[in-house]
Symmetry: D2
Subunit: 256 residues, 4 copies
């Protein structure tokens, strides 16, 4: 089991490499991947990468309210499920298989969200999935340029695994992220992500997934930069300029 985009750390895993490693060992395990914070914002290939079970949700890259979850299930996983002896109820796929083949559900689905999903998918295809993924990478790189210019540290150390949908930033020792986020929310109506698990208290997160463009990101980066000043975090007030410089230069490239 692994997470495609690890939202608490801002790390995107190389799922294809995980599968290659499993195959190299001829390991019989099924591969299950959580794409909640990557689906429709970061390129992902259930079939091509040999994933057995993919899990997603409606409320991030798909730009919908929360309320829908998705399972993509390989034939291998379905077979394993048929033979498994673990007691199951909610998590069983059996009830779903029959009605789903005809586009129905074994119980009442969140109908309104299904209409929203149809429109969300249409919006994504109008832009083009390649363009959507490229947009998120650009916005994430602009965010990282801002973090670097502030003199702060990214939690993710391996640049090959930077997340296009979420950037986790370390605050210097002595500065608590909960207080920082409260100040930013109260003064700028900007909701930053909390530090989770081991890095609670030390890390805040900037989300840049879903329906987001250059100026929405600029506003976000401005809010963080003003918040750092207000909270007294030592930093260089050059983050916004760095983000804008990258947005300008990368837009030129993409236009050529």
């Amino acid at each position: 089991m692994c997470v495609h985009n690890e939202t608490s750390t801002g790390v995107t895993s190389d799922i294809a490499a995980v599968r290659r490693a499993m195959d190299a060992e001829k390991h019989p395990a099924l591969l299950m991947v959580d794409t909640v914070s990557s689906l429709a914002s970061i390129d992902y290939r259930h079939d091509e990468w040999g994933v057995d079970v993919t899990i997603g949700g409606s409320q991030k890259g798909l730009m919908l309210p929360p309320g829908l979850g998705f399972n993509a299930v390989s034939q291998r996983a379905l077979s394993a499920s048929a033979q498994a002896r673990l007691p199951r109820a909610f998590w069983s796929w059996e009830d779903m298989k029959g009605p789903n083949a005809n586009g129905y559900f074994p119980s009442t689905p969140a109908t309104n969200l299904l209409y929203g999903l149809r429109e969300a998918i249409s919006i994504l295809h109008e832009e083009g999935l390649e363009q959507v993924f490229q947009r998120h990478w650009r916005l994430s790189e602009a965010t990282r340029r801002a973090v670097g210019a502030w003199g702060l540290e990214l939690l993710c150390l391996n640049s090959a695994e930077y997340s296009p949908s979420c950037t986790a930033v370390l605050l210097p020792d002595g500065f608590n992220e909960v207080e920082f986020r409260t100040i930013v929310l109260d003064h700028y109506n900007l909701s930053l992500g909390a530090g989770l698990g081991k890095v609670a208290g030390r890390v805040f997160r900037i989300g840049h997934l879903g329906d987001l463009n250059d100026l929405m990101l600029c506003g976000t980066v401005c809010g963080v930069e003003m918040g750092l000043a207000r909270f007294g975090v030592p930093h260089k007030a050059m983050g916004v300029a760095a983000a804008m410089a990258f947005l300008k230069e990368s837009a030129s490239v993409s236009a050529s």
Copy 2:
């Protein structure tokens, strides 16, 4: 386990009597009740009737889109759950207990529906719960008067258990409910409930719960009566008149 309002048969169970019978036998079982098709349309008392687990949903009497489920859980059920050894994941209350105490959730809730729920509850209280329950009983009785006047049979034989939220009607032998409902849907844009389980093919159901008033019910009854004629079901075309007669007479009473 029992169902407060049995939607497939149009029967409302006497939950308090179930509890009294259990108590008379000093039976240690927990009492679990499904209120999906009764909550907020039929009077129900989780605490007063000594229910241990009550289950409800957003999409019927609460007049919301589908997407929210509710659990009301007694202290006894929580204690039993703490000692139970059945493997649980989704159905476990443990994760919910902590955050719920402060109005939060262990995972992302269907936020938009929570706003809708607040408004739905406010609408119900504006009318008054007693008035809401009385309204549904009146509309259900008008429906039954129509059924009787048509010369058709109710599936529910015990008048003490007639459902205020849903009426199940038997079609005469040789008339299939699926074809009947299709004709009514196609010609009158009226969606009747299907026969379920043992009575599939023989029973159709008229829902009269949630946001419904006298004239919406009248339109419904007119649609069924015209559908019976169109499908060639032997009946007396007196159902609408009977429903209206009852609505007139019962409104006079309630106004006095």
Copy 3:
């Protein structure tokens, strides 16, 4: 100047005949027609009938909130306007002509309603304009059958001019329409049209235009019939039955 569908009396005028009469007299007047309560519910031909100025609104047959008005203007009317010496400001077409040629407006339009208008027109075309007009005629005839069965009188005496979008009904002497409509609104949440002008106090009106189907009309007729009983108006309680009989028989015809 004339009104295509006279909403206070439930009379639809024969606009083509008006034009023919004007032409027969070689009368130079421009012909101006109000289609507020007919547009998109009753067949109307601005060009074919030789109308010079047609006025319409968004809030009836077009099924939109109120807020948009429409002018269709013949070349003859534009020329007359160019030479007219009547002082004009709001009613002048001059400011509109330039920007309108490119789909723009000289001042800020009610933008949101324009999006709604696009969808409304699409809904009308999905059904087909012929079908829309036929539907309204059917529903109006069912309404008139109800009125006749009640033993009440239509205000419109010439059956060739019955309105497909609105039926005006005379109450017997001694029964005030304002009180009647108040009772119907209070008890059945059904808003009937007021008597206007000369027939104020004596006439109530049943609207049946826009987004309306058989069962919505049935609910309406039921509400009027129950209201007549409640207000003590002498009538035969056969109106609903007559409306349903016609809806059944005319649907059979249209389905063949």
Copy 4:
């Protein structure tokens, strides 16, 4: 007749001073003021300033879709209107006076917008009108700091008349505002205001009225700054920094 906030130039007029000048001359003219782009974003006093007719609209400071216009009319203006002999139809207040006294309208109003208006007014009062006006002044000053830092010129030369709702900026000779705005719209999805009248081609306008906060303004200023670079307009890329500096310093002040 004058305009409270002149949207094409970004100038707010001192209406009270206009009235004092008129009074000093004992001039009998009525004073009519257009508040379309100031109402609910800039302090305005119809009664206190002795204005006779105030005109407003729904689509700017009131944060509604376009579709409602407002007239506030003094007793003096009503009397003058009663004696005036200018032909009037749409602009006459006579039809409105009767029904308006009871909260009604002589013709069908844009009902949906009236519900929106009620909510908009409630939102404004929750924040407090003083706070709303102060917020717009702060955001406008941040905008002007950005313009100054870019080395561009404001069209409004008198600092006492700077508009809190709209800032008009001169582009250097040789740079056309239409092309500039097109680039900004295409690359940043930011819609700047056109140069109007005499300054068409030379002036672009930044709107900062209605529902706007610090970060939305920051995003706007970032978009203009990136657009200036992209269009090759000579400027110092210090506007965003200047706006942020002011927002930080003024927020500190207002918090104390």
